[in-house]
Each structure stands twice: as structure tokens, then as C-alpha cells.
């Protein structure tokens, strides 16, 4: 990895290079940057989509200040943070565990792997749909199964405390295979000599995992951790379908809150202010990722 991409900067070479980049840059500029500039502009004004008579007066940093003073904003950050804490460790632990199991030579391993990946291939909207069906408190399959073990029915999506856990379970269901896949690929790339030497030296299974497997997994895990953190901020589709952010706002992740602000309350000024804050968070996250993994391109 990492070709030194310096080549003699002959003018015609560089021109071709610029020409090749141009379509991408132009398209992303128009569809990416231009709306962002508009968002920045709007965040400094008051703009209620449903009250055009108010105009769009300039209000400086007012929207931002109001956001920080707004308890709903902090609530939604709390929900998002809690969601991350619920899903990421579980996904990673399960993913690593399953990857270790899958790395052994198992009959039908290929088939099993493909089957295990299926949650990743399903549309998030559809995932929300299916789990909403299964989580139904009176008639859903899940409570039925639990009932046959004598467990009382749980109001998965209606109980204020439970709802976030229910959504987290779905997210784990969906993304654990992703982590498993990455870890599996990394484990399979470890040269066998390491393992053979360890076995000869009489190392325990745990020691092998801790001193050989884990170090090789570490870079990949960090990469995925960063990617998944950025993903949680982006999560919208599945949660929207499964709970719409409810009951109340107990599962309202940041992205759902911005959506509600912009398209239910029509308060575009605030929605854009929070969007810009999210943009900063994304830039920070991607900087970390790039610094670690793509020092130069």
C-alpha cells in the first residue's frame, strides 16, 4: 500500500490529471458544496418554511446559541451517545468472536459466511419494517417465542426505557456481520507460521488470541470503529421506520431530530445550524480516519 505517487510534474501530465478530476469536482461542488453554503447561510437567519411572511431576517449566531440552550438538543445527543454505547461494543465483541470461530476450517464455511452476511444486504427501511412487525407486543413473533419460555410480553417499541434497546438490537443484528467480515479477512491474512510457532511453544488459546490475533486485528478494528461512529450519526432510515423517534423522543437520534426540526416544525434556521454542527463532527471524524490510514494518496 502507498505508492509514492510523485512523478515528474510535466505540465501536460498534470493537465490531464486535472481534466480527469474535473467532472468529480464539479459535480460534488455543485451538489455538495453549494447546498452546504446555503445551509451555512440559512443557519445565520431565521427561516420558517411555513411562515413565508416572516421573511428571513439575519440573526447572527442566535440559532446556534439557542441550540446549545435547547434541552431537546442535548436529549437527542444523549440518545445518540447512548445508542453508540449500546451498539458499538456489542457489534465488535460479537463480530470478533464469530470471526474467530469462522476462521477455523469449517465444513460449509463459505455458505455459512454468505448467509451470515445477509443482514448487511437488506435495505435499512425493510429492516425497520420487519423488526417492527416482529416486535409487536401482542402479536409479534418475538414475544411469542419469549412466551413459550414463560417470559412475559415486553412492549419493545412502546416502552420508553426499552425502545432504545430494541432499536440497538436491530442495529447490532444488521452490522455485526460487517465487523465479522473485516475481522475474518484480517485473521485469514495472518501468516500461519505465527500460529504454528505458538502451538509448538504450548501457548493457550487465549494467549494465541491476545498476542497474535488481536495485534493483527487492531488496525482494521480502528478503521471500522471510525467508520461505524460516522455511520451512527448518519443512521436515519431504519430508526424512522421502526419508531419514528418515539415513543416521545426516546429513540430520536440526531438525524431524526434535524429531520423533525426541518420538515415537521419547519424551523430551517435551527435545522441548518445543527446540520453545520454535524458537519464539523463529520470533518473531525474523517480527519482522524485519513490521518491514520491514508497518510498520502
Amino acid at each position: 500500500m502507498g505508492f509514492r505517487s510523485g512523478s515528474p510534474s510535466h505540465p501536460s501530465r498534470v493537465n490531464v490529471g486535472i481534466l480527469l478530476l474535473l467532472p468529480t469536482v464539479l459535480i460534488l461542488l455543485f451538489i455538495g458544496i453549494f447546498p452546504l453554503l446555503f445551509a451555512v447561510y440559512t443557519s445565520f437567519h431565521t427561516y420558517y418554511l411555513n411562515r413565508p411572511e416572516l421573511g428571513q431576517p439575519f440573526v447572527g449566531f442566535n440559532n446556534y446559541l439557542t441550540t446549545f440552550a435547547n434541552p431537546f438538543f442535548w436529549k437527542t445527543l444523549g440518545v445518540t451517545g447512548k445508542f453508540m454505547l449500546l451498539t458499538l461494543p456489542a457489534e465488535f465483541l460479537l463480530g470478533i468472536l464469530v470471526a474467530v470461530i469462522m476462521s477455523k476450517n469449517i465444513l460449509g464455511g463459505q455458505v455459512i459466511r454468505v448467509l451470515l452476511i445477509t443482514p448487511l444486504t437488506v435495505t435499512p427501511v425493510v429492516i425497520g419494517l420487519i423488526w417492527r412487525l416482529m416486535y409487536n407486543p401482542q402479536f409479534g413473533v418475538i414475544n411469542f417465542f419469549l412466551g413459550s419460555f414463560g417470559i412475559l410480553p415486553i412492549d419493545w417499541l412502546g416502552g420508553a426505557q426499552v425502545s432504545l434497546y430494541s432499536v440497538a438490537i436491530v442495529d447490532i443484528w444488521q452490522w455485526m456481520p460487517f465487523i465479522m467480515l473485516i475481522c475474518l479477512a484480517n485473521i485469514l491474512a495472518i501468516p500461519t507460521e505465527y500460529f504454528e510457532a505458538a502451538v509448538i511453544d504450548g501457548a493457550s488459546k487465549w494467549a494465541i488470541f491476545r498476542y497474535i490475533t488481536l495485534p493483527f486485528l487492531a488496525p482494521g478494528l480502528v478503521a471500522v470503529l471510525i467508520i461505524r461512529t460516522a455511520d451512527v450519526i448518519r443512521t436515519f432510515d431504519m430508526v424512522y421506520i421502526i419508531t419514528r423517534g418515539g415513543p416521545g423522543t426516546t429513540t430520536e437520534l440526531v438525524s431524526l431530530y434535524v429531520y423533525r426540526l426541518g420538515f415537521k416544525i419547519f424551523d430551517l434556521g435551527h435545522a441548518c445550524a445543527i446540520s453545520i454542527l454535524l458537519l464539523f463532527a463529520t470533518i473531525v471524524i474523517s480527519q482522524v480516519y485519513l490521518r491514520l490510514f491514508y497518510r498520502e494518496i
Partner: protein, 273 residues
């Protein structure tokens, strides 16, 4: 790879449980789409039933499912083609040429990929409505490039970096220009990369929900949004929803199963040293 056959059932049992957990929800959706309405919420759940196509029939002929299917297909295909084409050009430029500010452009491209759609959806809605592009397939094709072009670029850059520079140079000493070397030598060699990025771009465009929800009404509505419309204020039309869900998910699942090799490669990109 550690070559020790796991004969013991100890490993198989958790794996089977996991596979069951992975597959069951999908099975349940397909089953519900084929069950008569009364049996959707039957207690105990009905496992053996006489399948009916009534939900599909209603969805296609009364609820615009065929149109939504076409919209999804049209938008996803065109967007994938556009994104991969433009992205490959950019990727080649980034992988081979030494342009000032290249790292900044790369950073900006990656950040676009990580950007929450919510950030863009409000301004794009206002801009699109100004240009009278709301509820068109075109706006979706354009908007989806914000995450698909970076994705295609990302995947192709990795592929191009693996192709030795000597190949370009050999071609150019034989009299090719850069562009010509690109089309004749490099591109054919990077077909796996093109396939992988096309697949992912297609899948992400096909699955996309938020932009489609905001930017379309009944004209250019895609299937994920159509599915959400079955959650009415009066209750959820489960049969219709599951039928739509099956139409959304099944083509992709089947497709992914067929090309699972490429899929694994693309998904693990950037996370393997």
C-alpha cells in the same frame, strides 16, 4: 489459515443459531407477504399456510408498486453508471498524477462519503424546489452522487494503486497518450474494481430513503418510500408493506449471493492492511 478441522458440534451450534437469527427476519417478511391478512398476526404464529398473491396484486395494480420499482431501478442504474464513470476518472487522477492540493481534494471526497444526508437534505430541498426539480428522477440521480461518487473513487483508487505504474509507462513509450493508456490498458485490468464499485453504488442508491422521502411525491417515488407510505394513521398495512419490502430486498439479496466474492472484497476495503 489455521487448518484444524472443527469436528465438534460445539462450534456448529452457535453458528447455526446465528445463521437462523440472520435469516429468520427475512423469512418472516416474505412469509407475511404471502399470508392472507387474517393470518398476519395469528397467535400462535402460522408456520404452514396457503400462500396468496393478493398483497402483491394490490401493491402492483392499486398502489403503484410497478412504477416505484421502475423508478428505483432507473435511478439506481443511471446513478451507478454515472458515479462509477466519474469516480474512476477521479481515482485514476488521484492515483497516478501529482497535483497540487491532491490531499485536500481526497479529504473532501472522503468527507462527502461520511456526511450525514440530513445535513444536505434541507438545503437541497430548497434548491431543488427553486429549480423545479422536485419529484423528478433526475434530482435523485444527481443527489445520490454525493455519496456514490466518493465511494466509487475510494474503491477505484485502491485498485489503481495496485496496478504497477510500469504498465502505463510501457504503453506510453509505445506512443499512447495518458487517456489512451487509461482506456486500453488500465481499465480492462480494473474490471473487478469497476464491478465492485458499480454494485455498491447501485445498492446504496437502491436502498436510499431520506432524500427520496423529501424530494419526491407520487411521480418519482422509489420503493423504500412507497413502503413507508403503508404506515398510515389508521394502522399499518402489513401485507402490502411486506410485499413491497420483499420486492425491495429480494433482488438485492439474490444479486449479492451471486456476486458474494466481489461483495466481500468491497466491504472489507480499507480495513485490511
Amino acid at each position: 489459515m489455521k487448518k484444524s478441522h472443527l469436528n465438534s458440534l460445539v462450534a456448529y451450534i452457535p453458528l447455526f443459531v446465528l445463521v437462523g437469527l440472520a435469516i429468520f427476519p427475512l423469512y418472516w417478511m416474505v412469509a407475511t407477504s404471502l399470508k392472507p391478512k387474517i393470518q398476519t398476526f395469528a397467535i400462535p404464529p402460522v408456520w404452514v399456510f396457503k400462500p396468496t398473491l393478493i398483497h402483491y396484486y394490490t401493491a402492483i395494480f392499486e398502489k403503484q408498486l410497478a412504477r416505484a420499482f421502475f423508478n428505483s431501478l432507473f435511478v439506481a442504474t443511471l446513478n451507478a453508471l454515472l458515479s462509477v464513470f466519474v469516480g474512476s476518472l477521479a481515482a485514476f487522477s488521484l492515483a497516478r498524477f501529482n497535483i497540487r492540493g491532491k490531499n485536500h481534494i481526497w479529504f473532501w471526497i472522503i468527507t462527502n462519503r461520511m456526511l450525514p444526508p440530513v445535513v444536505l437534505v434541507v438545503p437541497i430541498f430548497v434548491v431543488a424546489s427553486y429549480f423545479k426539480l422536485l419529484d423528478t428522477r433526475l434530482i435523485l440521480i444527481l443527489v445520490y452522487t454525493t455519496f456514490n461518487i466518493p465511494l466509487a473513487t475510494w474503491i477505484m483508487v485502491d485498485f489503481f494503486r495496485k496496478i504497477p505504474r510500469e504498465l502505463d509507462e510501457a504503453a506510453m513509450t509505445d506512443g499512447c497518450s495518458h487517456i489512451s493508456a487509461f482506456f486500453r490498458i488500465i481499465l480492462p485490468l480494473s474490471v473487478p474494481g469497476l464491478v465492485t464499485s458499480s454494485i455498491f453504488c447501485f445498492i446504496f442508491a437502491w436502498n436510499e430513503f431520506l432524500f427520496a422521502l423529501i424530494l419526491t411525491r407520487s411521480g418519482a417515488r422509489t420503493m423504500p418510500v412507497l413502503a413507508s407510505t403503508f404506515m398510515t394513521g389508521y394502522g399499518i398495512l402489513w401485507g402490502l408493506m411486506c410485499a413491497t419490502g420483499t420486492m425491495i430486498a429480494l433482488p438485492i439479496i439474490v444479486f449479492c449471493l451471486i456476486i458474494s466474492k466481489y461483495l466481500v472484497r468491497g466491504l472489507t476495503l480499507g480495513a485490511i492492511k
